[in-house]
């Protein structure tokens, strides 16, 4: 126990705690309760169907006066803009006119309505009233194209803006296809390597590993040169007279598959090879000498002994592929982007970390579900040969 202590501590500090705290952002919802506490109190018994009480208008004008020129106003505006696009500029328009000189409800109401008519519309008030807790399912629901309606029920967002379900299934489909193709290519290759003499096997393994040491961006750029419209592949095929028009090999799903399979192939070959190496070739020969057809001997005697390698390689490739970002971003079209692209978009471009965390959390849960499914089917833990 003591021996693994340092590693456990290391993992806890640099892996478990940061990821855990990141994931809590997926439900963290502090903006409204921190910045508009009195407004929330005034809206406590509001039925969400009639106009909000005048005291709410007064409370809002007081809360906003307090928040003016503080960073919390920006955070609040960003949060409410997720509920209703345009809320941000409404809040800043209002904030610019604060402090509002009103001492009672009706006067505050008139003052707010004079700034913008939208303050008479119920959805803007419901957006505040619905965020009266320090946590919110908003980001997680939005990551699955769901939202809470004004009654508090979960509903789907309109199909026009419903994107993330399709992106999640696209992510898993691409990963699955890449896993299958690497298996189909990697299996015969690994089998062939195990039949080679030690020296030649090393040579082939080095050939497989060399691209592994090259930067991923360099390899992507190389694929662009090869696959573009007037690239090497297309011009070779045209010279041979096989095609008359250049094939669209790039900036579509095909380009993403080609590059991802190339990049991930070593992750399939290495576990397969290490397992295959430990399978004694005598078993297969014994089966044939006992009258089995060579193919049956391969399929029923050899292949089952390599299942741990197939499992480990497929799992490794699949899990790495699920998080792919730069390859689809540079080689795919707008409809080929995987979920990490949107995590990066929310993290870096709009700094909507709640949404980024929620997408990451759902990806993590999805992957863990698939892993437990794998364990159920294979009936054993992941081993590397």
């Amino acid at each position: 126990m003591i021996l693994v202590g340092p590693l456990a501590l290391f993992l806890l500090i640099i892996f478990v705690i940061p990821i855990g705290s990141l994931l809590t952002r997926a439900i963290d919802n502090p903006e409204v309760i921190q910045t508009l506490p009195t407004t929330l109190k005034a809206l406590q018994h509001w039925d969400r169907k009639s106009t909000p009480p005048d005291t709410a208008y007064l409370a809002l004008s007081q809360d906003l006066t307090k928040a003016k020129n503080s960073p919390s106003a920006g955070e609040l505006a960003r949060r409410l803009n997720y509920e209703i696009p345009g809320y941000r500029s409404l809040l800043f328009k209002t904030l610019r006119r604060t402090p509002i000189q009103a001492t009672d409800g009706p006067a505050a109401r008139d003052a707010l309505l004079a700034i913008d008519k939208r303050w008479s519309e119920l959805p803007y008030w419901a957006a505040i009233a619905n965020n009266d807790k320090s946590w919110s399912p908003y980001y997680l629901l939005a990551s699955l194209d769901l939202k809470l309606n004004s009654k508090g029920d979960v509903t789907s967002v309109p199909p026009d803006t419903s994107a993330f379900r399709a992106i999640f299934s696209r992510t898993f489909v691409i990963s699955l296809v890449v896993t299958l193709v690497t298996l189909l290519l990697g299996y015969p290759l690994s089998y062939w390597i195990t039949r080679l003499s030690k020296r030649r096997a090393n040579l082939v393994l080095i050939c497989i590993l060399i691209p592994f040491w090259t930067s991923i961006l360099v390899r992507i750029a190389a694929w662009v040169v090869l696959l573009q419209r007037e690239g090497l592949v297309n011009s070779a095929l045209m010279h041979l007279g096989l095609i008359s028009e250049p094939l669209p090999l790039l900036f579509n799903r095909l380009g993403v598959y080609i590059a991802m399979v190339h990049i991930l192939l070593p992750f399939m070959v290495l576990p397969l090879y290490s397992v295959m190496q430990s399978v004694p070739p005598t078993y297969q020969r014994a089966a044939i000498s006992l009258g089995s057809h060579p193919f049956a001997a391969f399929w029923r005697v050899y292949v089952p002994q390599t299942y741990p390698g197939i499992g480990a390689g497929s799992l490794l490739v699949f899990i790495i592929a699920v998080g792919y970002y730069i390859t689809p971003a540079l080689l795919g079209g707008a409809g080929d982007q995987m979920i990490s692209y949107y995590v990066a978009y929310f993290t870096n471009q709009t700094t909507n970390w709640g949404m980024a965390s929620a997408l990451g959390l759902i990806l993590l849960v999805g992957t863990l579900l698939l892993y437990s499914l794998y364990r159920k089917i294979s009936g054993k833990e992941l081993t590397l040969g």
Partner: protein, 348 residues
């Protein structure tokens, strides 16, 4: 070989220097920009002359525009960047959320000399750039004149390059559909306008080749993958300097600024203000535009440039005539909503 004392001292001092970054006095002014050709032009036009004038060293850092880094620095009260170049969309958000120092630049700079749109409450324009229609003059016999031609696949057969995402493409689609540049954001602010833009994009969808990074459209145009593309004007200019026959259509371009901001809590705030003041001066701005085809934010600098240089700048009087100024407020309010709708549209 004996270790050289100087190297040894340097090696030993590195960890201490890193520790010392949090303490105020020791740190040099750190200027952060997007690197590349733009970074080189800034080094020549802003940083080196400012070092000479102030007599103090300036550290120049390149980044990729990730505001996550700036936000994390500010939140952890460990700000090691002083003057940072940011994109428009980040300026509004960062300013409102207190990531950048609230500085009223109109009181520091000569207001009458700064072009419209460059002075914001937290930031001041670094330069003017534009997203334009670019084409390969070797591939097209007749020159396209605007976004309507970009959408005309009969007259100009071949693929078109557009950046993945809703921003700019919705504006281009509306202009192709006959909306005047001055009305684009008025139309886009209505749900019908958004539908109209996506419907127009539908028409072109099979012909679009999407790009992600600014270097890609240049490569795609040169390789013949596309005949026309939306592209950043500075990238096209760099390709022209390398001798490629790429041309720019200024009609319907969407121009924008990059802005200088100072992260909240920077210990070199005064020095950073002095640097930004220098970089915004007519002399520095004119020098910058001679190095790269981005427009100056100083009106006097525009007057100091030769017609050859002006012909390549987004905000020279001739090129800016029929251009559209990117609406920051619109995109901060509706950006995520429209990008999500774009993702849904692309998946169909």
């Amino acid at each position: 070989m004996k270790p050289r004392p100087l190297l040894l001292a340097l090696a030993l001092s590195v960890p201490f220097a890193m520790l010392g970054q949090t303490s105020a006095q020791a740190r040099d002014l750190t200027v952060v920009n997007f690197g590349g050709a733009n970074g080189d032009a800034q080094t020549a036009a802003f940083i080196k002359p400012f070092e000479k004038e102030s007599g103090k060293p300036v550290i120049s850092v390149a980044y990729n525009g990730e505001q996550a880094k700036v936000k994390a620095m500010v939140q952890s009260h460990d700000v090691v960047w002083d003057a940072v170049e940011v994109e428009t969309g980040d300026l509004g958000r960062g300013c409102e959320e207190g990531t950048y120092e609230n500085i009223d630049w109109s009181k520091i700079l000569d207001k009458s000399d700064i072009v419209q749109g460059a002075l914001k409450y937290c930031g001041v324009g670094t330069f003017v750039w534009s997203t334009v229609l670019a084409y390969n003059a070797d591939a097209l016999k007749t020159a396209p004149t605007g976004w309507a031609d970009f959408w005309n696949v009969k007259k100009f057969p071949g693929k078109r390059g557009l950046r993945k995402g809703a921003h700019y493409n919705l504006e281009f689609a509306l202009m192709a559909d006959g909306v005047a540049p001055s009305d684009v954001y008025k139309v886009l602010a209505t749900p019908e306008g958004v539908d109209r833009a996506f419907k127009k994009l539908d028409e072109l969808k099979p012909y679009i080749q999407w790009w992600e990074a600014g270097a890609q459209p240049v490569q795609m145009l040169s390789a013949g993958d596309v005949v026309m593309s939306a592209a950043y004007n500075g990238r096209i200019d760099a390709a022209q300097r390398e001798g490629r026959n790429l041309k720019v259509v200024w009609n319907g371009g969407v121009y924008d600024f990059d802005y200088w901001v100072i992260p909240t809590g920077s210990t070199n705030k005064d020095q950073a203000i002095a640097f930004v003041k220098y970089a915004s001066s007519p002399k520095a701005q004119a020098a910058y535009s001679q190095h790269i085809a981005y427009g100056p934010i100083s009106k006097k600098a525009i007057g100091m440039l030769s017609p050859d240089v002006l012909a390549k700048l987004p905000n020279s009087p001739a090129n800016a005539r029929n251009a559209l100024f990117n609406d920051l407020d619109f995109w901060t309010d509706h950006g995520e909503e429209l990008e999500q709708r774009f993702a849904a549209w692309a998946a169909r």
